[in-house]
């Protein structure tokens, strides 16, 4: 990078940081200085920060500390997400590669995928209760669908000329799949995983809000019942941060695994 470019990038970063600070300053002004909203409805950023710090070790009022909530949510969402990816990606690849699998599974799948994962919550609660399994199943469903769709599209978009190259060099159909189709679909598969992660994190919070006794979604739902706006805001911020960290991990994996991307 040239010096000028570096300077430009640095200036952009400064602007971004200023904007973020501006947001918090505005929030601070509205709540603490101008007192436009009562504290129970919209707490000041300082109050939220304070709640966040004390919540780290205090179990009141919802029965668990913040790390316990985070752990509960992460466990369920990663469980559901991993199962969704481990089953969804191979299934999508299979459907795209073998026409028979496509014919058998596509109609069922096309119907199931139109039902939003959140609509599964009531039936899951009836069938499986409000434990880890029920929530993980909902997360699984919401992670599974984008994995299948994107892997399917990825394999289907393998360039014909790449298949030809494999064929003229004498690759068998299985070798073609593993050496040509899957590597060329890898960027699509990763897009699928990222979408899955986002939607599984989202449906997890929804599932916890509707039926649960721990987790970040449960915490903010309880915050609403107790009129603890500060607790809700802490929960939302933590949900956002956790989501960002998970996406960053996947981005890192993609960078390491997908080579020579355009």
């Amino acid at each position: 990078m040239t010096k000028q470019k570096k300077l430009f990038a640095f200036r952009m970063k400064i602007i971004s940081i200023c904007a973020l600070f501006g947001f918090f300053l505005f929030w601070y002004l509205v709540t603490d200085v101008w007192k436009l909203a009562p504290e129970t409805l919209l707490p000041s950023p300082l109050k939220a920060l304070e709640t966040g710090i004390t919540k780290w070790s205090v179990k009141k009022p919802d029965g668990s500390t913040l790390p316990q909530h985070i752990f509960a949510s992460l466990r369920v969402s990663l469980l559901g997400f991993c199962f969704g990816a481990v089953i969804g990606v191979p299934l999508g690849i299979m459907m795209a590669w073998w026409e028979k699998a496509d014919m058998c599974l596509k109609p069922v799948f096309d119907f199931v995928r139109t039902i939003p994962p959140i609509a599964w919550i009531p039936i899951m609660i009836i069938l499986l209760g409000i434990g880890v399994v029920a929530k993980a199943s909902i997360v699984f469903l919401s992670a599974f669908i984008p994995c299948v769709v994107n892997s399917y599209t990825g394999i289907k978009s393998t360039k014909k000329v790449h298949i030809w190259v494999g064929q003229t060099f004498g690759a068998s159909k299985t070798r073609l799949l593993f050496k040509v189709a899957i590597p060329s679909a890898l960027p699509y598969i990763f897009t699928g995983l990222k979408v899955s992660l986002n939607s599984s994190w989202g449906s997890l919070v929804a599932a916890e809000m509707l039926g649960s006794d721990s987790g970040l979604g449960y915490m903010i739902q309880l915050g609403r019942l107790l009129c603890r706006a500060d607790l809700i805001i802490v929960g939302m911020v933590v949900i956002g941060i956790m989501g960002t960290i998970l996406s960053a991990i996947l981005d890192f994996m993609e960078m390491k695994l997908v080579k020579g991307a355009v």
Binding site: T168, F169, G170, K259
Partner: protein, 269 residues
């Protein structure tokens, strides 16, 4: 010319018709020709006369509507690693380095690793890409990509090399350079080559023999044996004479087919 050379491939009464929603569309009609061992055969013809289709039929990627293709006396029905193809563009695997792209054909056939690495390096050196072994295709220029394509085709140790306008998408200067390199490579590592192009200079520069195709449906119009010494000069009087002759022949075909096309259109109305 090696008219006496051993017979490599034999095409008999080859025809191809594509069926489209707007009716059938005859691309190639009744082609009969031989490909001889170690000759550089150029199939030359105007724009859309089915040259690529013909090449894919030789490769076994495309079936023929009528007629047969034989390779070493065996009927060509599907792709085989003894017939390698160099494609127009974008045929390299973007997720593999140059080295792995070139070694791909041997890897697929599970050739022992030591021989594979040896061959890979040999052909990378041959096409002049030493030092770029670990680059990804996206980091290479158009000409370099086609060099990788040629090395990859060679590395599979094919019996016949089929090249589908490999330099069609390169700028004029690079194209001249690539033609020179290809000739060098071929002189060093003699193979039977079938090369498709719509560029007359390229055809004359490289060919031992040129088969001139007519416009749709592609038929063999004339065959030229080129026995000018190599490397050839683009301004050699003999070169220019042949160039003129073939261009005139092609223009004559074109005006014929144009008027025929017009007639057909009129009849449809």
């Amino acid at each position: 010319m090696e008219q006496s050379g051993k017979l490599k491939m034999k095409c008999q009464n080859l025809s191809k018709t594509f069926r489209t929603p707007n009716g059938s569309f005859e691309v190639l009609k009744d082609l009969t020709f031989d490909v001889r061992e170690n000759e550089f055969l150029v199939i030359f013809g105007p724009g859309q006369c089915g040259k690529t289709t013909l090449l894919y039929m030789l490769a076994g990627l495309e079936g023929c509507t009528a007629g047969t293709v034989e390779h070493n006396g065996q009927l060509v029905e599907e792709p085989h690693h003894s017939r390698a193809v160099v494609y127009q563009t974008m045929a390299l695997f973007p997720w593999m380095t140059v080295k792995r792209n070139v070694g791909f054909s041997q890897k697929v056939r599970k050739v022992d690793k030591q021989k594979r690495e040896q061959d890979t390096q040999k052909f990378i050196d041959l096409v002049g890409l030493t030092g770029f072994e670990n680059s990804y295709p996206v980091q290479l220029s158009g000409g370099m990509k086609q060099r990788v394509g040629i090395a990859r085709a060679y590395c599979g140790d094919p019996d016949v090399l089929l090249m589908d306008e490999p330099f069609g998408h390169l700028d004029a200067q690079t194209r001249y350079m690539m033609q020179e390199s290809l000739e060098n490579i071929w002189e060093n590592e003699k193979r039977t080559v079938v090369f498709v192009t719509n560029n007359i200079e390229e055809a004359l520069y490289l060919a031992d023999r040129i088969i001139l195709l007519t416009d749709c449906p592609g038929q063999i119009c004339k065959e030229y044996t080129i026995d000018m010494p190599r490397p050839r000069s683009l301004v050699d009087p003999e070169f220019l004479r042949l160039r003129k002759e073939i261009t005139q022949q092609m223009n004559a075909n074109e005006s014929n087919s144009l008027s025929a096309g017009n007639r057909a259109e009129m009849e449809q109305k």
